[in-house]
């Protein structure tokens, strides 16, 4: 265990935000989960007792007689904002006094940094470069992330859970978002920061970054396993595999979604449903491709003269 190495990575000034992000995220997940649990208990109680649901209050922190329903922004909201501004300022001050912004040697195109890392918030995408060609990892994926985030309000037809924390009423959408945000975005950043060392090789936390380490690894393409040699054969084979994944995967997702989310399934238009399917399957494809690469050393699935997947 090389504690020095671990400390070097964790204390690199630009990695400190990630070190801070982990407990922050854990705290806010806990805060959300606590409120979701309380709301879900209330919902369960009211759904079990329709008579009670007609008269009972609908908040875990219910209104009490004698309270004002509305309060003045001045001072009740402004004091919170003011306090938040002061706290953030103090945090920034302390942070700026105790830790210096990184400043390395002058830019030198002839001296490549190893590892050369993108800013920490893009490390998830850089990690994807291991598994996908740059046009997918660097261009298509960011585009899909942005478009995918933008279509969320238009494909989530579930009217429940608007304006309060809940898990029970929105298992599918929250589960999907957690998978995308925590696993595919934050966890990849953590891997890119703490695990990837020189040569973008995998170093476990505490393992010394050996700049001379060589890994003997032969990656093969999926068509080669099946002995397909001709270009045309590879094109057709890859198209069948990728197309088959979307068809078969789409069928599995359809079967599950229909069963476990019958109401959403009914509410969704064909356009909403197919949009959701495409984004869902593309998301799931990421860990699948990662697994193919990490466990079976498979580089490409679909090889064409113009692009490789």
């Amino acid at each position: 265990m090389d504690w020095r190495q671990l400390w070097d990575i964790a204390s690199t000034p630009d990695n400190v935000p990630i070190v801070g992000l982990i407990p922050l995220l854990a705290f806010y997940c806990y805060l959300a989960w606590k409120q979701a649990k309380a709301n879900d208990e209330l919902i369960g109680e009211l759904e079990a007792n329709p008579a009670m649901a007609k008269t009972h209050h609908r908040k875990t922190w219910p209104f009490r007689p004698g309270w004002q329903k509305e309060i003045h922004v001045w001072p009740f909201l402004l004091r919170i904002e003011f306090l938040a501004a002061i706290i953030v300022t103090i945090v920034l001050m302390v942070w700026s006094i105790t830790l210096n912004a990184p400043m390395e040697e002058p830019a030198n195109p002839n001296l490549t940094m190893n590892p050369a890392k993108a800013p920490w918030y893009f490390l998830g995408l850089q990690e994807m470069l291991v598994y996908f060609d740059p046009w997918i990892a660097g261009v298509v994926m960011p585009t899909l992330i942005i478009v995918g985030l933008m279509v969320i309000p238009y494909i989530d037809t579930n009217p429940l859970g608007s304006g309060y924390y809940t898990w029970k009423q929105r298992k599918f959408s929250i589960g999907t978002f957690l998978f995308g945000f925590i696993i595919l975005w934050v966890a990849m950043i953590i891997i890119g920061t703490f695990i990837r060392g020189p040569g973008w090789q995998w170093f476990w936390p505490g393992q010394t970054w050996d700049h001379n380490r060589l890994i003997y690894e032969v990656n093969i393409d999926l068509p080669d396993i099946f002995g397909i040699a001709s270009n045309l054969g590879k094109i057709i084979f890859g198209a069948v595999i990728v197309g088959g994944y979307y068809l078969l995967g789409g069928f599995v997702v359809h079967a599950l979604f229909r069963r476990y989310n019958p109401k959403d399934y009914q509410r969704m238009s064909l356009l909403q449903y197919s949009t959701m399917m495409i984004f869902m399957l593309t998301m799931i494809a990421l860990p699948l491709k990662m697994m193919l690469r990490l466990a079976f050393n498979i580089k490409y699935v679909w090889i064409t003269p113009w692009f490789n997947v």
Partner: protein
């Protein structure tokens, strides 16, 4: 007075002298009585400065603690009038909102302030940039804390934006009628990341240079528009005319790239982001304020029009 010249035209000197004397006497007398009286009155007035003309010209209403004045305090102030005068008592709960949207905006203001100060010491040229940062760190009074603060506030802003999005998702706040504002938010998220990314190159050190090299190398592979991307070559893309060339102003990260990222960082993106922020805040109000904490809805009510339940 005594010797007035009733014939008018030919007043003698003596009577004029008398008149002047009397006038001066009057003036002196007024100095003795009027001025102290006025002074006394004004000193008396200063005991309540809220009644002075200067004060009332700035503050348009009284500030004693009445509901009307509390409302006016928000409504008559251009900066505060983004807020409504009154809000639902639950909407100020920190455990619900996490305050991340507001913190993001505050960090944007901190970054604008520190950024403008940094601009005084920085030349976006290959010869000067790195030296300017060294100068800033070692010679400019408070230069080091200025730069540190700008960098850490930028990182913090990225985190705050993510957490804000996370909260908005978990509370279902993107649902009707807030779909559009969620989209504005996604654009602001992208702009935040781009702001941070364009700033990365500016110190012109190894860290920024290679991070931006790694980042912009991806643009080579843009389908159709990059010279290494699928179908790029077929469309005649070379390192000297593709999308990466447009981003960097050259085929490598060099002087033009520095200038371009400087302009995007300091002028281009902040202006665009400010416009989107205006829309974002405006829509928060127009879409009915903050989304909750709302009363919970039961599954059987899902497809019925919503009734008001407290």
């Amino acid at each position: 007075m005594a010797d007035e010249n009733k014939n008018g035209k030919n007043g003698n000197q003596a009577s004029l002298l008398v008149k002047v004397k009397a006038g001066i006497k009057e003036d002196v007398q007024s100095l003795k009585t009027d001025l102290p009286a006025k002074a006394k009155e004004q000193i008396e007035g200063l005991k309540d400065p809220t009644k002075t003309q200067v004060y009332t010209s700035i503050f348009r209403h009284k500030h004693d603690d009445t509901p009307r004045n509390r409302a006016l305090g928000v409504l008559s102030n251009v900066f505060l009038h983004l807020h409504p005068a009154k809000i639902n008592r639950d909407a100020v709960r920190y455990s619900y909102t996490w305050g991340m949207g507001g913190i993001t905006f505050y960090l944007f203001m901190v970054l604008t302030f520190t950024g403008v100060l940094l601009m005084f010491y920085y030349h976006p040229s290959k010869v000067q940039a790195f030296r300017d940062v060294l100068y800033l760190e070692h010679d400019v009074p408070f230069g080091k804390i200025l730069r540190n603060m700008h960098r850490w506030a930028a990182h913090l802003m990225v985190i705050a934006v993510w957490l804000h999005m996370f909260r908005v998702f978990l509370t279902g706040s993107y649902k009707k009628p807030r779909e559009f504002n969620w989209n504005v938010g996604v654009i602001l998220l992208v702009l935040t990341l781009l702001l941070s990314f364009t700033g990365y190159l500016l110190p012109d050190d190894q860290l920024g240079f290679w991070a931006v090299t790694v980042g912009t190398n991806m643009a080579r592979a843009t389908p159709l528009l990059g010279h290494e991307g699928p179908f790029g070559k077929m469309l005649g893309m070379t390192p000297y005319n593709d999308v990466r060339f447009g981003l960097l102003g050259g085929s490598i990260v060099d002087a033009n790239a520095l200038l371009r990222s400087y302009i995007w960082h300091c002028i281009g993106i902040p202006i665009v982001a400010s416009i989107f922020m205006i829309v974002h805040f405006w829509r928060v109000r127009k879409d009915g304020g903050i989304s909750g904490p709302a009363p919970v809805m039961l599954a059987e009510e899902a497809d019925k029009p919503r009734k008001k339940v407290e």
